[in-house]
Symmetry: C2
Subunit: 425 residues, 2 copies
């Protein structure tokens, strides 16, 4: 085995990683009006299958041992020297939102593959095995809740319940779609073995690193997430003849909730955010008061008590509007995750490693949900953030500079090596 | 010719009229969850053709002279004794909104047919010819502007422009759809002959008559209508990682406009109403800030100056929101009609006739647009309103009691007779 000094000098091949990001981005590629190169690879669609097949092919080329579990999570492992040691795991997801980018998720998976190839190329053995995983349906854009694959992986949701989830768009059953694309695997899920540690490289998906001109974020935890679907039922009527005071306008109530949760977030300040991303009216005609509105509310905060306060304000707003307008509002929780705090040792390891490699760094929470928050339930976990240009993600204009991609992958490599060498003599 | 006294005693056959309403309502019939019997017969669809064919068949059975003009308006005429006299016209439309009822429009057309059949049955000749018309695309649910057929009929819109209008849903061209269903007729449009008078029987489509327990509304005019389509372009981004202050959220702006026009209508009071019936977000996902919103705003007032004030407030609201949120708002006028005042003699004739027949009556404006407002440009015009149960219209639960239908049709008969006998010796 090489000595620590020479391992410290090991670096990934940034061009090779970039080429893999480009190749995977071509699967489900969408092009914007200004030449933006986005991606639409919704979970368990044909495009997702094609993306999975491409990544599994690369895993196979590297001689990794591949397992596919019952919810479609794919784990590829490079053996360690100690047969009893638990693997150091890296990973993320390769599904995207409907109009997504080419870095979100993909970077963590392909960054992990690049770590594997770098070790292989330099003939480096580690005590712990190293696994790279991609988890099913992280985005939740087609099947809810989001982070479904990693949630089931750590035992947070029963496999049977996950397989029975229905797609928001076409009502397809998750288990059926998994079988259809050939990724209903034989490996049991949840996993029998907790990893030794988990680290996920990811784009920030927000504007903070770029604003402060910082290259590496050492991620301290993940905001709590509360997703609610509302079905508002009013009374359709003629837009010209129904006096304002006699209306039961589901569209107006949807709008008042949308404006209301914005006001709640503004008043609470801090990390509180509130978004209505989805809203549909029925019958959706210019001169008919809407009989029905369906919408979602996305609330997030790093602090559980404050997230609960935001939820309480939101529910009080709904109750008041339902009463004032004479409509009913049915509420259904689509996802609810408490804020997650990552392992202090892992956070500091990411920070120290970034500093050692000469990068500016800051400790920061994640505004988005990530598979890492599920793995944090079963092993020491942290994440490595790299800057998003203009803070954009879930957008075809999503972009991270090649230099930042390489910087993040090298931090990933060194963090993985440090964990995989633990206990080695 | 009979004397005036015996004509005064003439009454329609309410059952026959009701049966025709039922039969026409079966074309494009939709059933509600509680047994409501609605109708979906969008302009120039196959269902509209079927409805037109049914009504034209009844016109033919009555031996009327039928003309179909270049924009698909159908006029059926019963000859008068004076070959030089202009016809007294009655009519309305038979297209419906997507989830409409079985009375809106249909009543004016089939009430007119019932007047014809009553006169025929009793062998009554009139000096003026009597015409019953149904006009193309009154609702504007498929092709905008609404009241398109009657607008072209009176020369308010060039025929070529009308034929080039595109459907909101499938982009079909009006002229092509007209030809496809066989209703691109040979009669020139606009009409060469202004009617002697025009009177339209219609359901109120609002709650006023029912609330005040009144049977017949003598309609004084029609509210001015202002329809605007807005396209709001912001910036899609991740719902979790984008601080509230950095958002360019098209969905939020749509909601703020919806809530804002409600506030404008409430503050202005009087007859001012404001409705956002249509709103669509893109990409319409729970965790993505909307990049784009498309919506409509429907403003109405009986007073032109106040309608202009509402429009100015609405535009100022849009300008302010666009600036505050950093989005662009493109505005396109879909329809703009000034308030219309009907002919005083015609209004009073409706009122006096209703009183003579023993009905409670009130003078009232119409909150909805009607073909009558177009005909008012070329001849003395008024309308007869009958109550809508629960004030509902543009709704599958739309209903008017048979007794009120008969009452309205008898007022129509007597008003038509009075006008058609004018100048007779």
């Amino acid at each position: 085995m090489r000595n620590a000094e020479s391992l410290y000098d090991l670096r990934v091949d940034g061009d090779r990683l970039w080429r893999r990001l480009e190749a995977l981005g071509e699967v489900g590629a969408i092009l914007g009006p200004n030449g933006e190169r986005g991606c639409a690879r919704l979970a368990l669609t044909d495009a997702d299958r094609e993306g999975r097949d491409l990544v599994v092919g690369w895993m196979r080329d590297l001689g990794l041992a591949i397992t596919i579990d019952a919810v479609g999570n794919v784990v590829a492992t490079r053996a360690g020297t100690d047969a009893t040691a638990a693997p150091v795991m890296v990973g993320s997801h390769i599904d995207t939102v409907r109009t997504g980018g080419r870095f979100d998720g993909n970077l963590g998976v392909l960054g992990g593959l690049e770590v594997m190839e770098t070790l292989e190329q330099h003939g480096i053995s580690t005590r712990h095995p190293i696994s790279v995983a991609f988890f099913t349906d992280e985005e939740g854009a087609r099947f809810q809740p989001d982070m479904l694959g990693s949630l089931v992986y750590v035992g947070g949701m029963a496999l049977e319940d996950a397989l029975d989830v229905r797609a928001a768009d076409d009502n397809a059953r998750l288990g059926d779609e998994l079988a259809r694309i050939g990724y209903a695997g034989p490996t049991p899920c949840p996993t029998a073995t907790a990893p030794h540690a988990y680290v996920e490289l990811h784009i920030e998906q927000g504007p903070v690193l770029e604003d402060e001109d910082i290259t590496i974020g050492a991620v301290t935890g993940v905001q709590g997430i509360s997703w609610t679907e509302l079905t508002i039922v009013g009374q359709s009527a003629h837009a010209g003849t129904t006096p304002m005071r006699l209306r039961h306008d589901a569209g107006y109530v949807a709008a008042a909730i949308t404006a209301g949760v914005r006001a709640i977030a503004r008043e609470m300040g801090g990390t509180q955010v509130a978004t209505v991303g989805r809203c549909e009216l029925l019958p959706n005609l210019v001169n008919v008061i809407a009989a029905k509105a369906t919408m979602t509310v996305d609330l997030r905060n790093t602090d559980e008590a404050r997230l609960e306060k935001a939820e309480a304000s939101f529910h009080a707003l709904c109750d008041q509007l339902a009463k004032d307008e004479g409509v009913t509002i049915e509420r259904r929780s689509l996802a609810r995750f408490e804020p997650v705090e990552f392992d202090e040792g892992m956070i500091k390891l990411v920070q120290r490693t970034a500093q050692r490699l000469g990068h500016s760094t800051k400790m920061m929470p994640s505004g988005a949900g990530h598979d890492a928050q599920m793995l944090a339930r079963v092993c020491p976990t942290s994440m490595i953030f790299v800057p998003s240009v203009n803070g954009l993600s879930h957008n075809i204009a999503e972009f991270t500079k090649p230099a930042d991609i390489s910087a993040g992958a090298n931090v990933l490599l060194q963090v993985v090596l440090a964990k995989a060498m633990e206990g080695a003599v």
